[in-house]
Structures are given as structure tokens and as C-alpha cells.
């Protein structure tokens, strides 16, 4: 089970590879306001994250995810959830 810090490091690396952004990505980086992702791009990103962590990300939780740290918190919960 990965720690929050492991998850955070992987998410930042993934975003750096996938998204064009001229500033450093932090926990406060907002997917829509800072990174300018539209709904299709957000869903593509989710698919990459699901592959990386071998999880399924329920779309019900997406409205609660605005920033990188929101995403990492949700991922920490999902990856540590017993099946």
C-alpha cells in the first residue's frame, strides 16, 4: 500500500509528463483554473492514473477533486481500501 507521499510524487511526475504547464506543480495546483484541463482531458488523466495505481476511480468522487492534493487524498483512500 503506497503512502500519501509516494502517491503525491507519482501524480506530480505523471502531470509533468502529460500536461504543459510553465510553473512547478504543487498540492495547490488546480486542474481547471491552473492547468486549464477540460472535462475530456480530466477523464484522460484519470485513465492514466488508474493504470498507474491499478485502481478504478469512481466518477462520483470527481466533483470533490479540484487540486492535486485533493486527488492524492482520494487516491490514498482508494489504494488503501480493502477489496
Amino acid at each position: 500500500m503506497p503512502s500519501y507521499d509516494d502517491i503525491y510524487a507519482q501524480v506530480v511526475r505523471l502531470l509533468t509528463e502529460q500536461v504543459k504547464y510553465d510553473k512547478a506543480i504543487t498540492g495547490e495546483t488546480d486542474f481547471i483554473e491552473d492547468l486549464g484541463l477540460d472535462s475530456v482531458q480530466v477523464m484522460e488523466l484519470v485513465l492514466h492514473i488508474e493504470e498507474t495505481f491499478d485502481i478504478s476511480f469512481p466518477i462520483n468522487v470527481l466533483p470533490a477533486v479540484r487540486t492535486v492534493s485533493d486527488l492524492c487524498s482520494q487516491l490514498a483512500e482508494l489504494t488503501n481500501k480493502p477489496v
Binding site: 475530456v40 477523464m43 478504478s56 462520483n60 477489496v83
Partner: protein
Amino acid sequence: MSLFDKFAPLAKARAELEASGIMPFGVVTERLLSATEGIVNGRPTILAGTNNYLGLTFDPECIAAAKRALDEEGTGTTGSRMANGTYTGHVALERELADFYGCGSAIVFSTGYLANLGIISTLAGPRDVVVLDADSHASIYDGCRLGGAEVIRFRHNDAEDLDKRLRRLGERVSNTLVIVEGLYSMLGDQPPLAEIAAVKRQHEGAMLLVDEAHSLGVLGNHGRGAAEAEGVEADVDFIVGTFSKSLGSVGGFCVSPRPELEVVRYAIRSYIFTASLSPSVIASVRTALQVVRRRPELKKRLWDNACRLYEGLKGMGFDVGPKPGPVVAVVVAGRDHAIGAWKVLLDHGVYVNLVLPPATPTGAPLLRCSLSAAHTPEQVDAILAAFSGLRSVPGMRPA
């Protein structure tokens, strides 16, 4: 802050369209001339975006049945199916749908949207899981949201990805509803239903719902849809469909081989808390269903028209997807190019659907055509002639 503030981006997009003099989402058909032609902006226009696949909106038998019902039973039921809104016709249509699909149970709803909303939200509640194709229709997503189940998407038409998602669920798979469509409405592509059914069989307890809204009357030897065409009807637990496409009217339904559906009926809010279909609608749908069974040549004519349009557009170099079908969508690079091209088509007397992101599955705008058995070959050629004028328009053909 106002309740309306959140609509500012929508208002801006609308104002921009208005300023350009093009309003693609408010087209008024001033008069219908036939199932495939109407008067739009004062001129005769070929209708190539109506989902009227078998052309039954003007079928004389269907019209006569509707008129008879209007005379004998009035204009509406004014009530819910659970109260005063069940007439002999509603029950007969449910029996006939069950017979058509070889299923034990059928429920008729007031629209196709309400069928998905009701069935999905009632079957899949807060402790359950829905695993759906990512390109599913809005009514499917809305049904999921209303029911409160955990919702997981799998990659469009990817049975392997579905398998992976179901495996990750572990024991929860026995409380899982898998949802796919028989024919996807935007690009007209079909699912690998045999592979999807095989995956479902491997995960014991999972149930499969197929939305045959665009495939009823279109696919399968008897017109029952994608499940029939792929030979997997025995693996499908629920089929949802609509009367507003091939059957030329309005309304929706769910059929199932599972007798439990009869009990589920009494828990479906979109069935209980809305007025039932008017008798004239029920009468025309019952007749249309008989026509589907009796006149398979309509399906052949539809496919002949679909292939003629698809091959013609492909020959002109447009990006029309891998296979012909009753929905032929031309992918356009750029929103403004798509809006301009749509207007050119309308000015040449051809109406197609303009579909803009985020309503498109790939993020690219579409000029979406749907064919009908009622289109003549000459009308299909006229649609092609209108498109031929767009060959040199920027964004219309892949670079």
C-alpha cells in the same frame, strides 16, 4: 452572486453564435413534408439528422392506428401507470415487447430517457456498483447519479478494460451492473458485444444491461438489436430501448428475462411519478412494432442508404470512421469550421446534426448524419452533393 452566474459561459457561447447569425441548436421545422423532408427557413430541406431509421413517422398504418385511438380513447391518460394511467393498450404493448424479445417481463415508460433513469437508478443503489462504457448516453449517467451507486467507467468498446475493472471489484462484482449501448449515437460505432458478454460470464453475479435505443429495428435478423446480431441475447439481463427512433413515436421500455422486473416496477420513480403515454402513442408504437416484424425490407433499405452515404463521403476524403452504419458522422477539425460547414449544408437544403464538444466523445466537432429507410437514393445523392461543396473548406478533411 446569482443563481444565474454559473450559466455565464453558456450565455457567452450563445451570444457568439447569435452574432454570427447561425443558430444550430434552435432550428425550427416549419412544416413536415414527409419522414425525410421538411420546410426549414422557408425552403424544402432534406432531413438527415432525425434518427427516424425506418421512416415510420409517416407510415399510413401507424397513423391510422393513432387516429383510431385518439377517437376512441381521447388525447391523454392524465395519470400515472400506478393510478388511472394503465389502459388495455399499455398492457398489450408490454406483452408484445416481451414476446418480440422472447423475455418474460416488459415495462413501458413515457420516454427513453425516463426508462434509463428509472431502471438504472432503481437497480443500482448506494451499496452497488455500475461499470459503464465511457461513451454512454447522458440518460445512463443521470440514472447512475440518481441511484447513488459507485460509478466506474471502462474505456469505450474495450472488453479487456471492462474485465480489469470487474476483477478489481472482487466480491462486490455480485452487486454490479454493467452497461453498454448497442450502437453509440454520436459516431454510430458498435460494441464488441460478444467479447463483453464473455467477460460478464466470467464474473459471476454481474448483470448486463444493453441500451438498444439506436439499434432496435437496425441490427439483428429480426431487428431486435445488437444482442441479437451478436448472438448473445441469453447473456443480457436487461434491454432498454426507445420508441422515438425506429418506431417513429415517443416513449421507452425495459425488457428482461428476469421475473424480478415485475416487482422492480413498483419501485421505479420515473414510472410512478409521471403520466403514462397517451393512447394514440401506444397505438402507433404497437403498429410500428408489427411493421418491424413484418417488413424486414425496411432495414435493408436503411442499410443500403447508409452504405451509399458512407462510401460517398469516404470517397470524398472525409473522416467518417471505420464502418458504415445508420449514423454517419463526419469529424471536423475546429469548432468554427464545423459551425460554418453546418450552415453551408443547411443553405444547400440539407439538415444534419451539429455536435460540439463536450457532447462529442473524442473532443472533435461532428457533422452527424442519420439515415432513414424512407430516404430515396436521390436524396442520399443530394446529401452527398451538398457535402461535396465542403471538400475545400478548412478542417473538413484530415490533413
